[in-house]
């Protein structure tokens, strides 16, 4: 795992790693959401406005086109009427029949849309008929006096007949006119409406739109696809035709509003219509929706493409960012694993220049501090072996072990051990030996800590303690003595229990004061702090001389505690290794605060009793 140290050069192991996958998905989703929301929002707004504008302009344009087409058709019929007009001016009394026939035929030549022309006299009798297809007839005499083309024309000057279909196919219409004078009769023209095809097929509605004409009954009269007309197509069931017919009866102009509907060919179209003046016909201008809204679709397409590009961009950005994030995170993860595994010297390398780098730096700081802390712990553990807990902490927190360097100083050395311990240890069960030693050490250890003494060493039942070193204290000798008294009392109390178990063990203490050499001794892996010289030696000798319950002090200690303790002088002692005899004094107890009466503890009394 630690081998898969992530780095830009080895992205392969990261692919498919679950943490990366999740980050990747999150980033891509986030970017996609942001990009798409922005682009779609913008696109929809644009499309909405485009739709509004497009609809408005199409509405206007379509209506205009329908109107224009209606105008053209009106004009087409109007021109035929004009041409017919002059034939009605001449009364029947004027001119020969042949002349009239010639005029009529010339009219036919001029107006191709008229297939047949007939003239009725004032009584409704047919006087002349000329045709493109059939035989001409002069004075045929057929009676049309009750025919609407005569009666209506007489009544209204102009008669526009309904559209009819020759051979059930070709659309025709009857147009009849009277002249200004009644005796000039009625001119009737059969108009081939296929000629309107020329008109409607020339009307351009957009690029692919169409115009067509229906009559009042909804039948198709003209359409660019002439086949539809010739098939006699009925459009009355088409929505736009019905709507136009319904609206025509109401407000004029309302029918002209374009509607979206289905065309004859089944396409969706925008349909606008306009009435053709006088004829009752309607012109429809229809533009396919696909063309009408082509800019809209183009805009939609653009938006779609931008969304796709945005998505791709979001994907790449997500990928990039996820990589940017994942690589350092994986480095941190690996670092955390190695540090957790104990490799406190490991450094996480992240150079991203952002919070992640800060985090990695903090990781490194943390591991350095852990390393430091661990080293400190080791040091403190070592110090605590020969220093009290407080002292060890002081030395540790002082940041150096300079206090433990070799030096000379005035110290008070306390030596103590048990009387008869060697014999006891040989005879007694090891468990019992260790138990008694445990009780003994526990009792004394607490007192050493209490008086902040430095436990220099202990060897079995023997203990050596220092005062005034390595930390100085103002009254080392008094402290030593106070501690010694309490130790004596403590062991005396313990000794009662020991005696009950059949072990006769005594306790003696020796205390000496003076300048001595101090420092660390030992070798790599095992160092001790030690006092060397005559003072410890003296203390040890005094201890050896002390009988059970005695605390022997040298004159320097005696001087230091003079007046504060009750003593008894035991006389000059010649001690091994000491050149001059030493005046030995046994401390009996502390004086009370006033310094008058000696305060003898219960324990010391008990010890004294035991001595006796």
């Amino acid at each position: 795992m630690t081998d898969a140290a992530p780095g830009p050069s080895s992205p392969a192991p990261l692919v498919g790693a679950p943490p990366r996958g999740r980050l990747l998905r999150k980033y891509i989703a986030l970017f996609a959401a942001v990009v798409c929301a922005a682009v779609l929002g913008n696109g929809l707004v644009e499309i909405w406005f485009l739709y509004r504008e497009q609809t408005a302009s199409l509405t206007r344009m379509q209506s205009e086109q329908a109107d224009a087409a209606a105008g053209k058709i009106s004009q087409f019929i109007g021109e035929i009427e004009n041409q017919l007009g002059w034939t009605t001016q001449i009364p029947w009394s004027v001119g020969t029949a042949e002349q009239r026939r010639f005029d009529a035929r010339r009219l036919l030549r001029q107006v191709p849309a008229i297939t047949e022309l007939s003239q009725l006299d004032a009584t409704g009798k047919e006087r002349l008929r000329v045709s493109r297809l059939g035989l001409d007839s002069v004075d045929g005499g057929a009676d049309f006096s009750t025919d609407p083309k005569f009666t209506e024309a007489v009544a209204h000057k102009v008669y526009v007949g309904p559209v009819y279909f020759r051979n059930d196919s070709e659309p025709y219409m009857t147009l009849a006119m009277t002249g200004v004078r009644r005796e000039s009769g009625v001119t009737v023209a059969e108009v081939n409406l296929k000629f309107i095809w020329d008109v409607v097929s020339r009307i351009k509605v957009g690029r692919s739109g169409q115009a067509f004409v229906v009559d009042a009954t909804g039948r198709l009269i003209a359409h660019p696809d002439i086949g539809l007309v010739l098939r006699n197509t009925d459009l009355s069931h088409f929505a736009q035709v019905q709507a136009a017919q319904a609206a025509a009866g109401r407000v004029p102009g309302e029918a002209d509003r374009p509607t979206v509907t289905e065309s004859i060919q089944g396409k969706r179209v925008i349909s606008a219509s306009a009435p053709v003046a006088r004829l009752g016909w309607r012109v429809f201008a229809e533009l396919p929706l696909s063309e009408a809204y082509a800019p809209l679709y183009a805009s939609l397409e653009r938006t779609g493409i931008i969304v796709l590009i945005g998505l791709a961009g979001a994907f790449l950005a997500g990928l990039f960012l996820a990589r940017r994030m994942v690589v350092p995170i994986r480095a941190l993860q690996a670092g955390a694993e190695r540090i957790g595994g104990g490799d406190l010297g490991y450094r996480v390398e992240v150079r991203t220049g952002d919070e992640l780098e800060t985090l990695a730096d903090q990781f490194n700081t943390m591991s350095a501090e852990l390393r430091e802390s661990k080293a400190r712990e080791e040091r403190v553990g070592r110090l605590r072996r020969f220093l009290t807990a407080q002292l060890a902490d002081v030395i540790e927190s002082s940041g150096s072990e300079a206090l433990l360097e070799s030096h000379r100083r005035e110290v008070t050395v306390v030596f103590c051990d048990l009387r008869g311990f060697t014999a006891f240890a040989e005879a007694a069960e090891p468990q019992e030996v260790m138990r008694i030693l445990g009780e003994y050490h526990a009792g004394l250890g607490a007192l050493i800590n209490k008086y902040e003494g430095t436990l220099e060493r202990f060897v079995g039942d023997g203990l050596m303690m220092l005062f005034n070193d390595p930390l100085p204290c103002p009254d080392p000798s008094l402290r030593a003595v106070r501690m010694a008294i309490e130790m004596r009392d403590c062991v005396a109390a313990l000794a009662i229990g020991w005696r009950q178990r059949g072990h006769a063990l005594g306790f003696g203490i020796g205390i000496a004061h003076g300048e001595t050499t101090l420092g660390r001794i030992g070798f790599e892996g095992r160092f001790d702090y030690s006092a060397i010289g005559t003072v410890p030696n003296l203390a040890a000798r005094l201890c050896a001389e002390a009988r059970n319950g005695q605390i022997l002090i040298d004159p320097k200690v005696e001087g230091a505690v003079a007046g504060l303790v009750e003593c008894e002088v035991l006389g000059e002692l010649v001690l091994k290794g000491i050149r001059l005899p030493v005046r030995a004094v046994n401390v009996l107890g502390l004086r009370d605060a006033a310094g008058d009466a000696p305060v003898r503890s219960v324990a010391s009394s008990a010890a004294a009793a035991a001595r006796i």
Partner: protein, 326 residues
């Protein structure tokens, strides 16, 4: 996801699809023309006009149009094998002229557009109705049956003393027979006898001239048909020699030496035929395309021929002519 493949497929979709669409559009439209007489070849006068009209609809020879012309040269029996050739060439649409050719084309089932020359298609049962032809044939009518009477009327105007009109027509052609029957009726109503001179093969024309020599007519009405068209020069020569006024159906005959003609504008007929071919090419069924009527008719008069036979046409009639050849 392989980015390169993805891009490649995008590009392919953008490039290949339009190319495929163009290839589809470039599949040529195959038109076959069938005529009982001379083939309406691309270089013939009618063929040129038809090809121009087709170009209006976007069909160009060598690009998206093949044009295969067959003509029986008057031998009706040849129509069937000729059509078989066209069918074997997988023609999409047939453009046919003349009743026998259309009947034969109808038998093939290939969509057929009639340019002219079938008379009344409903009466001859080529189609069910004008509005809904129903079968594989549609086209444009020449209104010949009706116009035959009109032509007699015009002859009468040129030669007011007209009593007997020799009518040259093809007995094998049902359309022609109908025309003859219709004009015979009309002739009675305007006080004219029709001398029916039906022919079946080119050699019959000798008999026709012999018959006219035996019983000289006052005028000739020639019904445009494969057989009669093939022999038009002989008719012109005979009419000139006998100083007989004659009327024909189409104006091109007048440019060839005929006296006068009245009939539909064949340019319009060809234009409509081309439009119908286009509709069929775009998927319409011929049976759904109404059989159309012409809208324009032209009266053409050859003054030179008139002078040659010593005819003085009424000035009013000349004034009504759409074209006067001097």
């Amino acid at each position: 996801m392989d980015r390169r493949h993805f891009l490649a497929s995008l590009v392919a979709a953008g490039v290949v699809a339009p190319l495929a669409a163009r290839a589809q559009a470039d599949r040529a439209l195959r038109i076959g023309t069938i005529s009982p007489t001379a083939p309406i070849a691309a270089e013939s006068p009618f063929g040129k006009i038809l090809i121009e009209d087709l170009a209006q609809h976007g069909y160009v020879i060598g690009r998206n149009l093949t044009f295969d012309a067959r003509g029986a040269m008057g031998d009706i029996a040849k129509l069937k094998p000729l059509l078989s050739e066209l069918v074997a060439g997988h023609v999409d649409v047939l453009v046919a002229t003349g009743y026998p050719a259309v009947v034969a084309a109808k038998a093939t089932g290939v969509p057929t557009v009639v340019a002219w020359g079938v008379g009344d298609p409903v009466a001859t049962r080529l189609v069910e109705s004008y509005a809904h032809p129903g079968g594989s044939v549609t086209g444009i009518s020449d209104v010949a049956t009706t116009l035959t009477a009109k032509r007699l009327e015009l002859l009468k105007e040129v030669a007011p003393k007209l009593h007997r009109v020799a009518m040259l027509w093809n007995r094998n052609d049902l359309g022609m027979s109908l025309r003859y029957e219709a004009s015979a009726k009309t002739a009675e109503s305007i006080g004219v006898d029709v001398q029916a001179l039906g022919v079946r093969e080119p050699d019959d024309f000798d008999g026709v001239f012999t018959a006219m020599d035996r019983e000289p007519p006052d005028a000739i009405l020639m019904v445009a048909d494969s057989l009669t068209s093939l022999n038009r020069k002989r008719v012109f020569d005979y009419a000139a020699a006998q100083r007989l006024p004659a009327i024909y159906e189409y104006d091109f005959l007048i440019r060839d030496g005929g006296l006068m003609s009245y009939g539909p504008d064949w340019r319009e007929c060809l234009a409509r035929a081309a439009a119908m071919v286009d509709r069929i090419a775009k998927g319409a069924k011929p049976g759904d395309l109404p059989f159309e009527q012409p809208t324009r008719y032209s009266f053409v008069f050859n003054l030179k021929v008139a002078k040659g036979i010593g005819l003085q046409p009424p000035p009013e009639l000349l004034a009504l002519a759409d074209e006067v050849i001097e």
